[in-house]
């Protein structure tokens, strides 16, 4: 059997590797970026190298609102990945590709063109991500509910949008899928807008803001209380964090001023820790009374303007909060919990109890701390009391889809499920696509 290239072609990050392996070879941004100082566009993995200065870099992405709009750009990014990172020859391999749900026929056609005409792949299988996630989770726990009932509800919080999709017998029930038009990109941009208005203008720093969001944002479990705490001055404000901007000379990447600072609020969320933390705060107070300079530094309340840094307080939890209440942003859509509820309600009523008990979270935006817990808090009131509710986050939400793909690619029937190049040439894109049932 020849090798199968598994390509989870996300709008934000491409996960690419050889089928049958556990982890993808390449996890690279699906974009090109051009630093301010140069004329050369950097491709995918080159953006990740530590010595690249991405300050005010311009980005180009082949995806817009989750769908492929620029096939030429995508094709050049793929060819870079295939030749430099995976080191494969497309004409000797098959391709397993993921595509977003409800992909438009015109986009499917252009993808097929790239795959068979530009790269000359031997065969192609196109899958949607929820079914792969389901496949992976079912195989991990052969005696769990997901694999016994052969159904699950996959919540994929991606880069451009969030889908709640019921999967049954490895097929996504597309009539029941619900989409929320909020994803990691919108959240990063929202944070960027807030910071730019309130402290430093960072409107050009998309790459930097992604890092800030990943490092500092979390989901609040009790919003009114946290807002109150975020209002407090000085050290009582457990949420205040300071982020140092790159200066372009000594460091080209931003970093946290104090790596321990973001964790200061954690005792609020964990009762066992609470006791310890309170004692520690008392101790700190005693120590700090005579060392005012040290106190100021720890407080983070004095933002040193000469040093190019900015502080975050309530932004840290108000940004991910928008996933749960998009209406607050002015987006006229229901929140994530209601999204899941509606998706499940669209299914046959026999499936409801099982689906509520097998909710799987995947996608990079579920990595915010306390995401699953908050979702459960929001979802419980919507779910009938007689049903149990169980939300599992995948162990690696970014790679979950790829691992499912890798599993599928190594299954013995995989070759039979593909469309081959000969079939494509004979039948054309539209008729070949009918085979994938979505």
């Amino acid at each position: 059997m020849s090798n199968v290239v598994v390509l989870d072609n996300g709008a934000g990050v491409i996960k690419a590797g050889i089928g049958g392996e556990r982890d993808p070879t390449a996890i690279v941004p699906n974009s090109m970026g051009r630093p301010l100082s140069s004329k050369k566009w950097l491709m995918a993995d080159q953006l990740l190298s530590p010595d690249v200065d991405l300050t005010s870099a311009t980005a180009r992405r082949p995806f817009d609102r989750g769908y492929l709009i620029n096939p030429d750009l995508q094709s050049s990014i793929w060819s870079h990945i295939f030749s430099n990172l995976l080191k494969i020859t497309p004409s000797h391999s098959s391709l397993l590709l993921t595509e977003p749900l409800f992909n438009l026929p015109s986009i499917q056609r252009s993808i097929d063109e790239i795959v068979f005409e530009d790269f000359n792949f031997k065969a192609l299988y196109v899958s949607d991500s929820p079914s792969l996630v389901h496949l992976y989770e079912a195989s991990r726990r052969p005696y769990g509910l997901v694999s016994k009932a052969q159904c699950s509800l996959v919540v994929d919080c991606g880069f451009s949008f969030t889908h709640a999709s019921p999967v049954f017998q490895n097929f996504t029930l597309n009539y029941a899928v619900k989409r929320l038009d909020l994803g990691g990109k919108a959240l990063s941009n929202y944070l960027k807008e807030l910071v730019s208005y309130r402290s430093v203008n960072l409107m050009d720093e998309s790459f930097l803001m992604d890092h800030v969001k990943e490092e500092l944002c979390f989901v609040s479990l009790d919003l009114p209380r946290d807002l109150q705490i975020a209002r407090k001055p000085g050290k009582d404000n457990l949420f205040r964090c300071t982020y140092v901007l790159p200066d372009g000379i000594t460091h080209t990447k931003g970093f946290l001023k104090d790596p321990e600072e973001p964790k200061r609020y954690l005792p609020l969320y964990d009762e066992a820790l609470q006791q310890v933390a309170e004692e520690q705060i008392d101790m700190d107070r005693l120590e700090n009374t005579d060392n005012s300079e040290d106190r100021n530094r720890r407080n983070g309340s004095k933002i040193d303007l000469t040093k190019n840094e900015f502080g975050l307080t309530n932004e840290r939890f108000l940004v991910p909060e928008m996933m749960f209440r998009p209406a607050d942003l002015g987006l006229n859509q229901a929140g994530l919990a209601e999204c899941i509820h509606r998706a499940i309600s669209s299914c046959h009523s026999h499936l409801h109890p099982v689906l509520y008990e097998s909710i799987i979270l995947t996608g990079g935006s579920t990595l915010f701390p306390h995401f699953a817990k908050r979702l459960e808090m929001d979802l419980r009131p919507l779910v009938p009391d007689k049903y149990r509710l169980k939300i599992t986050t995948q162990e690696d939400p970014i790679l979950g889809v790829w691992r499912g793909g890798s599993l599928l690619a190594s299954s013995p029937d995989f070759d039979a499920m593909c469309i081959t190049k000969a079939e494509y040439e004979e039948l054309g894109s539209a008729r070949c696509r009918k085979r994938f049932f979505h």
Binding site: K40, A59, L104, A164, Y175, V177, L180, Y197, P224, A334
Partner: protein, 170 residues
């Protein structure tokens, strides 16, 4: 958008109100507010804050620099089209997703076919919109009468008026 309708409903009360014409104009311009809101939401999906002009390959760009001076000799509007400029026009910018969506004409499909449009989750059921101060982020009680953005205190109002009020719409 919801807010606009509820506001107008409130203004339908029986009591006749006298307001300054300028203010009336500002209140009536719910169009502008919706527009500003939509453009804010749109901005959340953009890659770069500044929209770039259509880009050339590197060597093209270098050679165009020389030609720039040629362009300037001609008065505006009667720019001579070089071969490169023509080639550039043919190399269209990729369509945005919304354009592709329009072209796909999904509305014409029968109602039982699940499509991109029908998968959208739809408006929230009951939960009222919470408002956060646009200046400091805490829950806000006041609305700016001119632009409809929210603030929570006099202090924040001053900042709002100085920095942001009506600057989004204009």
């Amino acid at each position: 958008m919801d807010e606009e309708t509820s506001n107008s409903a409130r203004r339908m009360s029986m009591r006749t109100r006298k307001i300054a014409p300028k203010m009336a104009a500002a209140l009536a311009s719910s169009d502008n507010r919706t527009q500003a809101m939509l453009s804010r939401l749109d901005a959340l999906e953009s890659d770069n804050a500044v929209v770039e002009p259509q880009l050339l390959d590197d060597d093209d760009e270098a050679s165009l620099d020389d030609e720039d001076q040629v362009f300037h000799k001609y008065p505006k509007g009667t720019k001579r089209k070089t071969r490169q400029a023509k080639a550039l026009e043919n190399k269209r910018a990729p369509k945005s997703f919304l354009e592709l969506l329009n072209e796909a004409n999904l509305e014409s499909l029968p109602p039982h076919v699940p499509t991109y449009l029908r998968a959208a989750v739809g408006p929230p059921s009951s939960i009222a919109r919470r408002h956060f101060c646009t200046v400091c982020g805490f829950s806000s009680t006041y609305t700016c009468v001119q632009c409809g953005m929210r603030f929570c205190s006099i202090k924040c109002r001053t900042i709002h008026n100085d920095t942001r009020c009506l600057k989004f719409v204009a």
